[in-house]
Structures are given as C-alpha cells and as structure tokens.
Symmetry: C2
Subunit: 445 residues, 2 copies
C-alpha cells in the first residue's frame, strides 16, 4: 500500500479522553474512531490488525477440529426465556422490540442459540463429539464503557461450544480448547497465562481465564515466575490424543497462577519467595465446562448406545478478538508508539523514501515494493512529500516491526537501512539483502 | 474435511415454508437455520459459501484501489438526524434505546457514519480521491421477510462510499465500481447485468442495479439478447485509466437492459425483434452517484487548490453478500440440488467411498484426500458407513462441482470415477489423473 493513497488519519495530539496506552495509541495511529460510548469504527489500519487476529483464531480452531459457523447478532427473547437467563441477565443485555413488538436482544453470548441449533439437528451419540464456534459481534451495555476497545459495548468475540456424550469427553474438549488457545496467543506474540477462575454468570464447574500481563490490567494476578516462561513452541499436537493434550494442560496449569478471585495465600506462599510474582493482567479468553446446565432445560439430548436418552455435556470457550487488539498494544509499546509482533502486524514492513521525487530513491523504493509483494508480503510505502522526521514518527507510531529507509547517499552506495522497531537497531545492507532478511523472518513464523 | 466429523444436517423432507428453490435447497443442504423471521444462522456449509463470496468481493474492491474498514452495526440516532433520515426512514429502521435511554439504531446502510468519519479526518483536496468500504451486517425490519436469505432482516452487505473533489472525479469512481462489480460477479460464475435504475430512498442522480437473470426474480427485466453474452473475461484493467474504465462501462451499458422501473417501450422496440428478451431478475448490487446530498448537510468539505472550501461529491455502492448465496442457487440448481460454480463452492471436490472399511478403498480415498490438500484444495470426503445411493444424493444436494467415486472394482484396475455435477458426465481415470484434472480446473480460475 502506498501511503499517499491510503487512509491513515494519525493524530498529532494525544486525545484527552484516553486513559490507557492502547486507547491513546489506537486513536493516535488512526486505528479506530469512537462513534458513541463504547462503539467504534475500525479504520483501515485497525481493521487490518483485527482481521489478522481473527485469521489466527480461525486457523487454530480449525486445527483443533472445531467447526466454524455464524449465528446472527440479534436473538429472539424466547430462547433466553427457556434457559431462564432473559430475566436474570440484567441491564447489560440490550433488549430490542421489532416492528411487530416482538422481544429480541443483541446477543451478549450464544449458549442458548447454539443449544437450539444442536437440539434441532443432532439426535444420536454417533454424531458426537462436536464443537461449533463462530466469530461474531456481541453487545453488552456496560454502564461505563472505557479503555477504548478493551471494554467496549459492541465487541468481536470468538465463542465456541462443545457437545459431548460424557463428562470425560467434555473435559477433553476443555483441554483441547486450552491447548488451541495457548497456540493462538503464542502466534500473536503474546504470553497469555491460563489461571483458574470463578465461573461468574455463565456458570460452570471448571473454568480458566487467560491473562496477558500488563500494568493496566483490570485483575490482580499472582503467579510463579516460571509460568510466563512456559512455551508451546513449534511442537506438533495431535488434538485427538487425550493423554497428550491433557499432558500439555498439566504442564501449563500445575505451577501457581491465579487471579485475585481465586487467589489462595497459603498456596502462593509455598512458592520459593524469589519466584513469587504479583502483577496485573488483562483477560483475553476464558474456557468453561458447565455440564448439562443448558442442555437439560433446553432438551438437547442424544440417544445413547444402550437406547437411553441423555442431555449432552457442554462447555463454552471465548476469545476476545477486538479486546486482543488493545491487549496486544498494552503489552507491546513504548513512548514513540506501538510495536507490533510480526504475527499480527497490519503491514509487514515500512518503506521510507527520504527524498521523494529523486529518481534513484523513487525507483529503489518501487523495486523494494515489488520485491516484497513477490514474497507475499505487504509493505506500507511512505511515498508522501514529507520531512524525514515526520515519516519516521509516523512509522514509529503505527509500529510496523521492520522499516527500510531509502536515501540518496545510501542508494549511491547500493545500501538501504533496515531498522527493527522493537530494538531500534539499524543495519546497512543492499536492498536485496534487506528483502531476504525480512522475508526470512516472516517465513519462519 | 471428513464428513463423519463435520456438521452437515441435511434434511430429507422439503420444508413447507420455503417457496423458492434457493430457500428450499439451503434448508435441505443444511446451510442455514432460521432463528426468527428473516434472521438466520449460517450453518457450516452455508458459512463457507458466504466467506468465499466475501473474499471475492474484498479482492476485487482492493484491486480497484478501494480501502476496507469496518463500521459498527449500531449507530447513534443523532447522526441520522443530521441528514434528516432518522424521521424519514420509516418502520424498516430498527430503533433501539440503550440503558441510558439514548436513541440508537441498527444500521440499514452507512452514508451518515462514513460521512462523519470523512469530515472528522479529511480536510484537503490532496487527500482525495478516496473510496472506503466495509462488509458488515445490516438490519432492515421488513414487514414480511421471505425467500430465506434473499429478503432477510439481518443481512450481510458490502457498502462502499467514494469521496471526490468534482462530479467528474466522482463519476470515474462510479465507473470504477461498475467494472469492479462486473468482475466480482463473473468470478462467482454469475451473469449480473447492469441496468439503469430508479434512485429510491437513498437519492441520486445516476444509478445502476446489477441483476441476475432467474425465474424467481422480484423484478421484471427487459433486455437485448446480446447483453448476457458480454464478458470481461481475463482482460487486465487499469482502474486509474479513466478512458479505459469508461469504455468498459459503455460496452456494458449501451445495449438495452432495464428493469420495469425504468423500462421504455419505444426504446425496447428498436431492438431487432428476435433479440428482445423479457424475463425476471434478482438484484444483487447497486451503484449510486448522489453528489453532495450528504456532504452538504453534514459539512463534509475539503479545502480546494484555490483556497476555497467545497462539499465533496459522493456515491454509495452496494453488493448484497448474503443475498448472493440465494441468487447463486437460483441461477445454479437442478431437481437434485445445488450446482456450485467453482469460484464459490464450499468444498472444491467430493470424495465418495463406495465401500467404507475396505482397505484398498479407504487407503485410496485417504491418498486422494492428501493429494488435494497438497494442491491447496479442500475436499469433502464422505467417509460415513452409508449406502452409495445416500452418499450420491448428499453430494448432488450440496452441489460440489466435482465428485470422485472410489469403489473396489475400480481400485483393482487403478481407476476412479470423476463426475461433473453440472453435466452429470462421468469419466474413469487413475486417481492421479483425477487429481491433476481437478487441480487444473481450479488453477485456471
């Protein structure tokens, strides 16, 4: 993309209403625009990041054998009357009447609707196990929306639901979700720690939250310093292998890591003192096993091998897709702006032309632009008539992980400068070498 | 995907409520489930088609230089009060109050909000031309939703908006949209004819609808028999070249083609009699030029080269993404089921194992499955313990363009059967030859 033809409305001033770094930086980098309290337009740069995150979530869900579908944003109130939640939910539920005065609501979550889909179409245990998920906009009418997309009212969430014959099967689904989530966050360059959690209004016997460590997190967290060092890395996982999947879950949940909701001081104090960590965390996902809480009242049953009929065991599993954009920035920024991990960056590399209009600089930049495209990478080429300082400031603000600077002196010596946004380190090399180096970094992801 | 692990709830019975082929077939093929009047869940097979269509729309918009973003589904009423449409819109607008009693609405279209984004961030003519678009769920509270996703209430639409300094520039944007739409529909295997249209409630000086010929279309259409023969084919288009783009528009709009709204009997009768065609059409897109209708009342102005200030010239351009799924089926089906064009098929090829459990059949199917994946294609492998007849009926119903049948007799002779869904013709060949043939068909798209 050529910046002269893009729509990247960066702000020079820091918006007064933004209290945390991610909100400030998303506004300044032209990623979002607030349309009303807690409701945002995703401007082109923000939309690109949102799509990258969504894509990673899809890929990892499909890898785990989960099946995508899409439920609508609006739901009939009657479904929620069946589960008893229509009256229980409170003012965070956005209630709507249509022109025929029928009660509807903007879905804050989808347990009822997915259970309705299941009971309409599945009759036999032979059709299990089954895990269905979607990535769809939700609405929760927060009384005080704040922190930008971190606590918005209209937000994008992945929510998945498993249907299993037995509790044991459902706990395998739970474990499968935990492992797929670990891989999802790692691919984004995030360390998200699974922590035992309270079940809250959705209910459930077993539940973990995934928390990203960040000073601005809403939860206080207590953990063993060894926990953030745990990595899945590039190991291959057979999601059908119960022992293997359970083993990974054990590896990631045995050491102490809890939020203030479930914190146990005595257990915490058993950790060697030098490893005891207290900090703050941002919740970016949660997994639940809740058994037959919805299948029983809503009649989601299957025939069993011995001619019986039983309600299925279910769980629900969420990833906050739009919230992740904020969490990623909270965990990856400095005083100059955002620092995108390679896995989610909106553009793979920035090209800065120090002397727009100079024939050799222009043609070197165009050649770089084409070379990256041939590697399947998307560069953002700052081809504006602007001072070098302004171009650098924009690139630092929007946070592309790699920047190539092209100037007349360098080009005369067949050199460009490759700069790493995270370390600030620059290196001179030929344009070809710079392309190869950046391409190799992305190929290794 | 292995069918034994998929969620494909095909129906044996024809649902009584469905009046047209696409609605019937989408229900029978397990593509959608109605959740309330005019509001559908997209089950896995339907969701896959929806995503393929969305992807083609994105690719062609980006190719034309248009920039994607994403506006929220809910909008503040105040924006619509500025344009005067809040009171004018009528009961099709779904009006909502939040917990603080603020007036909101579920967006039926986005002229106001995109104009608000523009005026907040663009000041100079130098930032033009600019075309922004999104693909987002909309809501229109139809009094009698019907025909499945063809006239639903919650529907997915691509809507794009151009901002230009002059009328001449805006008409180039209009033409650019026309050409990009022609290519979009062609890639889906559809013949969609641009027809001069009435401007309707959005207002506008210049507008064309795109209609797909189908007996169940809601509009009567009158056209020269030569019009449906016009094709863009694989010609390369330079979207910045005004003459070239205008030339293509002329090529596609000079021959007579109109809906009943703008039909002119005298002009129609000038066509040689044997070429006069009367039929029905489904609207799958519309482009509008409407000048300063929104930019003036909403103050979307830019500074001009001579220090003046003028409201920008705008247009809006829509493609009915979810409706296209229905339109595609109306135009591509027979008595056995759907016939997907290769460009939008949910799976590229079906594999039918005639003798599940037979070692040679099973291993031949597994080898085919892997071979297609290596070509970047997605097969649907019917690995269920089912009669051949039931497997064929399912494949015919869901309409994958190509099917490979593997049976013990064929495998003994190193043969499989490759069947074309559209023609019904079958051919025996080696498994390798079948993979190569199918891969070549998709590679040519």
């Amino acid at each position: 993309m050529r910046l002269s033809r893009y729509f990247l409305p960066v702000l020079k001033e820091t918006p007064a209403e933004a209290q945390i770094a991610s909100h400030r930086l998303m506004l300044r980098a032209g990623m979002i625009k607030q349309q009303q309290a807690g409701i945002y337009s995703w401007l082109p740069l923000g939309y690109k990041v949102l799509k990258r995150i969504e894509q990673i979530v899809h890929e990892e869900q499909i890898r785990a054998g989960h099946i995508p579908l899409l439920m609508p944003t609006l739901q009939p109130a009657d479904l929620w009357r069946e589960s008893g939640r229509y009256d229980a939910y409170g003012p965070e539920m956005l209630r709507i009447k249509d022109r025929h005065d029928r009660d509807m609501l903007y879905g804050p979550t989808n347990e009822e609707m997915i259970t309705d889909i299941f009971r309409s179409h599945v009759e036999s245990y032979k059709q299990l196990p089954l895990t269905l998920y979607h990535i769809q906009w939700k609405f929760r009418d927060e009384v005080r929306p704040r922190f930008g997309v971190m606590r918005g009212r209209e937000f994008l969430m992945k929510d998945g639901y498993n249907f299993d014959l037995t509790k044991e099967d459902a706990l395998h689904a739970y474990n499968r979700h935990m492992v797929s989530y670990l891989r999802t966050y790692e691919r984004m360059g995030l360390t998200a720690i699974p922590m035992r959690a309270d079940s809250g209004p959705i209910g459930g016997d077993d539940t973990h939250e995934f928390l990203v460590l960040a000073e601005t997190g809403e939860s206080e967290v207590f953990y063993d310093a060894k926990v953030p060092e745990l990595k899945l890395g590039d190991r291959q996982v057979d999601y059908d292998n119960r022992e293997e999947v359970a083993g990974i879950c054990e590896e990631f949940t045995t050491l102490y890591a809890r939020t203030d909701e479930t914190h146990d001081e005595a257990l915490f104090n058993e950790i060697p003192e030098e490893r005891r960590q207290v900090g703050r965390g941002i919740e970016v996902g949660q997994i639940f096993y809740f058994g037959t809480k919805y299948s029983e009242p809503m009649g989601a049953t299957v025939n069993t091998p011995d001619q019986g009929k039983v309600p299925v065991h279910m769980g629900s599993h969420g990833i906050g897709v739009s919230r992740l954009v904020g969490a990623l920035i909270e965990a990856n920024h400095d005083e100059k702006g955002i620092i995108w991990p390679e896995g989610v960056t909106p553009f793979h590399v920035g090209i800065v032309n120090l002397k727009q209009g100079d024939v050799s600089c222009d043609s070197a930049c165009e050649a770089l632009y084409r070379a990256f495209a041939e590697h399947g990478l998307e560069p953002l080429y700052d081809d504006r008539e602007e001072r070098a300082g302004a171009k650098f400031a924009t690139m630092d603000l929007i946070g592309l992980p790699w920047r190539i600077t092209v100037g007349p002196r360098g080009i005369a010596a067949n050199k460009v400068e490759l700069t790493c946004r995270r370390t600030g380190e620059s290196e001179e090399m030929s344009a070809e070498a710079a392309v190869e180096k950046v391409a190799a970094i992305y190929a290794a992801l």
